[in-house]
């Protein structure tokens, strides 16, 4: 068995490195720079039932050790994805995870029903999306709201389902427990933190929506703390992410209890960074005499 081989639910991953939704396109853009099949898995761009054009105006602002983004879930819609982008992702010999969000519970359910019939290895439910019908507060803030959406999707989606938590949740542990009770097979965390930037010369917010999503190394300590808290509280596997940029960062998340990890913003630093992370993890294990990640998983 290869040192980094990881079992996530019933999936065997080559290693615990998965690319995070929205940061890796559908994999194709990265293939000139790396052998994408060497990854543990790829998460698709966040899909919604219907195509979305996303936000207009400024979409990105770099911050100290991080970035704010306001892409607004631009995507071609679930049906288009299944027909056009999924076959491209499938050419890579790696786990294919479809990330999906929605503005209403009905949209989540309809999208999940379509994905139930598609050739994906796992569904990642993004509950950080604003709930259009109930004042725009994200589904991922209150545990009872999240329970309802996960419970409804569970009824139509029969494959493995991971629920991706927002760090903006009122109580991250209660949220994870609610999602597990509602039928999640795994929990991933964290999505972006809410942040703002102001253009002082224009005396205006940088983003049209004022608020945007903070990611990158700046959020790593917060993400690591949340992963540690959640991993202790749930039985299902936890996939950790938020600011991972080196093999040591990934090892920290594994030690905090994560089964696997995702890499997002770091993919922009250099396109083949995930392969460097894999090699750094292997070198660390070698130097520390670790045969399998299970020896250190949740060791703190």
């Amino acid at each position: 068995m290869h040192k980094l081989e990881t079992t996530l639910c019933d999936l065997t991953l080559k290693n615990p490195i998965i690319t995070a939704s929205g940061t890796f396109g559908y994999g194709e853009e990265f293939s000139p720079y790396m052998d994408v099949s060497r990854l543990g898995g790829i998460c698709s761009k966040g899909l919604t039932l219907n195509p979305k054009e996303g936000n207009y105006g400024v979409r990105m602002w770099e911050t100290p050790s991080g970035m704010l983004n306001s892409v607004g879930l631009q995507n071609p819609g679930v049906a288009h994805f299944i027909e056009n982008e999924l076959p491209i992702m499938r050419k890579f010999d790696t786990a294919i995870i479809a990330n999906m969000g929605g503005g209403t519970i009905e949209e989540y359910v309809e999208g999940a029903a379509l994905l139930d019939k598609a050739d994906i290895d796992m569904l990642e439910l993004n509950i950080s999306c604003p709930n259009v019908k109930e004042g725009g507060m994200a589904f991922g803030i209150k545990a009872d709201v999240a329970w309802r959406v996960v419970n409804q999707v569970r009824k139509v989606y029969r494959g493995k389902m991971m629920v991706k938590l927002s760090p903006n949740a009122e109580d991250i542990v209660a949220m994870a427990v609610a999602c597990e009770e509602a039928g999640a097979d795994a929990i991933s965390l964290i999505n972006t933190l809410k942040g703002t930037a102001i253009d002082v010369y224009k005396r205006k917010p940088v983003f049209r929506n004022t608020v945007a999503g903070l990611s990158g190394p700046a959020i790593k300590p917060v993400a690591l703390r949340m992963v540690w808290e959640v991993a202790k509280a749930v039985e299902v596997p936890v996939v950790g992410l938020g600011g991972i940029a080196t093999g040591m960062d990934a090892i920290e998340f594994i030690m905090a209890g994560a089964t696997a990890v995702q890499v997002g913003t770091a993919n922009f630093v250099r396109p083949h960074i995930c392969l460097d992370i894999i090699e750094e993890m292997e070198a660390f294990m070698e130097s520390q005499g670790i045969q399998e990640l299970s020896e250190i998983r949740g060791c703190i």
Binding site: G25, E29, E53, M60, E62, Q74, G216, F268
Partner: protein, 246 residues
Amino acid sequence: MPCNTVPIGSNKEISPGVWRLEAPFSGDIRAGQFFMLKCPEGAALLPRAISVCDYDGETVTFLYQVVGRGTGELSRLQAGDKLTLTGPLGNGFPVEELQGKIALVGGGIGVAPMVYTAKVLRQMGKDVHALCGYRDVPFYADELEQAAGALDIATETGNHGAKGFVTGILEPSRYDAVLCCGPEPMMKAVTGQCMAAGTPVYVSLENKMACGIGACLVCTCADKDGKNRRTCKDGPVFRGEEIDFA
């Protein structure tokens, strides 16, 4: 389009706030393409998109203006220091399709891509004329004049060339195509002039980027149909009339 970390050749301030950096590179580069540049040990998280100013098959030259943290770090690199380059990226100008007399219009740091573009076009035997607008002091004008064969200058202060914006010295009806790179208000104005004259116009847009390779969707610009187009992958060059300038 590889991603390599290489020791740079030179890095000099050629005009206040404007720097020229040279790095080894081999492979094809199209006129109007760009690279993502990052100091491997720098504090700036993301690489910066910088246009190719010149290329001779061995050395790629970039001109950049120091505007913030990323370009500030670039300017502190010294000969032999390491730089990570990803590229060349983007579509570039459709040089093969262009016929007749071609105007290259640059504004400020937007003159950079016009140097290599002029070279490529003239190597293909095409007739080019460069027009550049600066605020006050021209930079890289000799290099551009040499590459293009002909150069007209406008400055806002009137200290060099004609007084005013470059739009004041551009007569689109004299050309079969106009290629343009500069501040957005200038590209908007040039596009308007060209559309009125019926001259095809190509603009090279600038936008904040993260991945530079079409994956993250942070660099989009809106086209006239309200569709969001990726500046890095669908551009940076677009037909002027396609773009919904703010």
